[in-house]
Symmetry: C2
Subunit: 328 residues, 2 copies
């Protein structure tokens, strides 16, 4: 083989290898600015020679769950679950028939619910989802998730995780990141399936918390659920949850709604290179389309902030080849 | 070589290897029942053929900090730090001169402090340790730890970590365990040094929490410390902290005082093989000797429970070759 031929062969092999690697990175993401911005960020913070290099211990990435890693329409899935627990407990609580929040909830009366505001609704749901041990509640959640089907997709709720985001989580971990969920939803509703769906173990799931109380019951130590919230991990609560649980400022944050704004602000405000990303629901055919006007997962202020600060906005329609693993 | 000789050589090599491995395991622990019980437990839960085998994902070990991983006498080190902050803030607070908790604290009046009870003392300390951002507070903690010396050992407080426990943490992790601190102390006081001292990253440090509040300050998002406790991770609070933060029942728990009792109970009550261990401070020469009568780190009820349930009780005097790394 001539020297020119040999050199040509080496170059060709190199190009094949590079293009293979690139096609294997985030395969459900279309080639384009969004994917390039993510890959460029990861390369910059992991390349020891880069001025933006970040030591592995500081590669913390935080992800909202509802609407960012899985669907949240027509209602947050955990809300549907808690509502089912309310209905199941109702026969033991005739006094609820006089409760305006109860009446509005069982009648799905959106107007009455909006008028009541969050507080009495959350209080009633917390009450109906308390009194049992955390072990009993965990079994109820697992049963519900196994049996119930999503109204639009007719599939288990846990099928509605976004394939491109699963790939992104795995890609970040392969590059030395530790990945955390930081969700307005309750920890106990996510932990049973987050490890299988996202590769995120229970201790890396941060969320809202109902009070639990230690007590001895029949000589056994148990934790019992109390009818009160201990912590709401949403909006300005998210940076608090991150501080309490992780104790380090993330270098990458992923959300989809105004409830993620403060988490993205805190992440973006750190020194050095940062990634702040919003998933924009603009695909009514394959999933749902909603933003500024939606009661669930409203994306309004955060969208303005994203534009003002050059955060990445993912178009589910244009940036993702497929949304769910079950799509053909 | 004859067959007998060859067999003999193989057996000899095997014995040398086994004894070397055993000498390398927990080198600061004396051979004896305590060390054997720990090693036997770890072998049982990691051997795939054992009936007590535990999958790596469920190998969770929790450690109290004060008195279990480092010293806590003559007063919890964090208490000394917070007291110094109180004294530093006093000139700006002339109104404290009429506060009985303030007077008792600065006079080190143990009788008055005991009479007042915990509540007004903690409230005043929380007040003196609030108002700043979490970043500013972190720098104050690091400065204090760098400058202050322990009254008995004349060394930085972070030198007073127990060498045998450092080895135990590393030994468990080498066997697929994830190790967590679960302390009555505040997270922000442990995180700056826990990774270097124990190999435990910030997100695996669980502790008491003062309230923090998200706000925008000069256009920057910050977290400010509030004069109020959000969570006390002690006694019955420890299983709550474990549930909130880890979401799995540990299979091994390590403590030294009555404040660790419920954490050990919850751990021991799980199905399958469990390890519950108390460090007993019985070495006045090398460290301190105290248990049932001590105001700091009282070990009374938990000692009775340990005896009733065959939990391991470590004698610092008899079971540990050395306590601190700086000992000759």
């Amino acid at each position: 083989m001539s020297r020119a031929l040999r050199t040509g062969a080496v170059v060709l092999c190199f190009l094949v290898l590079v293009s293979t690697a690139s096609a294997q990175t985030l395969p459900s993401w279309k080639a384009g600015d969004t994917k390039a911005a993510i890959v460029t960020f990861v390369q910059a913070v992991t390349d020891r020679k880069s001025k933006d290099y970040v030591a592995p211990g500081d590669r913390i990435a935080v992800f909202d769950n509802d609407g960012t890693l899985w669907s949240e329409q027509p209602l947050y899935f955990q809300f549907l679950f808690m509502l089912d627990q309310l209905k199941a407990a109702a026969p033991q609580h005739p006094e609820w028939n006089d409760n305006p929040a109860f009446k509005a909830l069982v009648a799905h009366d959106r107007e009455a619910l909006a008028k009541l505001g969050q507080k009495p609704i959350l209080e009633l749901l917390a009450l109906a989802n308390s009194g049992m041990t955390v072990g009993e509640y965990d079994r109820t959640i697992r049963d519900w998730l196994a049996k119930q089907r999503h109204p639009k997709f007719k599939r288990p709720y846990t099928d509605l995780v976004y394939k491109p985001m699963q790939e992104l989580l795995a890609y970040l971990r392969a590059n030395g990141f530790r990945t955390f969920i930081v969700s307005g939803g309750a920890v106990e509703f996510m932990r049973p399936w987050a490890e299988k769906a996202y590769g995120i173990p229970p201790e890396q799931v941060i969320g809202s918390q109902q009070e639990v109380k230690f007590e001895m019951k029949d000589g056994k130590p148990v934790l019992t659920r109390e009818p009160k919230f201990a912590f709401i991990d949403d909006g300005p609560g998210k940076p608090v949850g991150i501080y309490r649980h992780i104790g380090k400022r993330p270098i990458a944050a992923f959300g989809n709604s105004d409830g993620d704004l403060q988490m993205l602000q805190v992440t973006a405000a750190g020194e050095g290179r940062r990634l702040a990303l919003l998933v924009h629901h603009d695909d009514a055919d394959r999933e749902f389309a909603y933003d500024r006007q939606s009661q669930i997962g409203r994306l309004d202020k955060a969208l303005d902030e994203a534009k003002a600060n050059n955060w990445i906005v993912v178009s589910m329609k244009s940036d993702w080849k497929r949304i769910f693993a079950f799509e053909q």
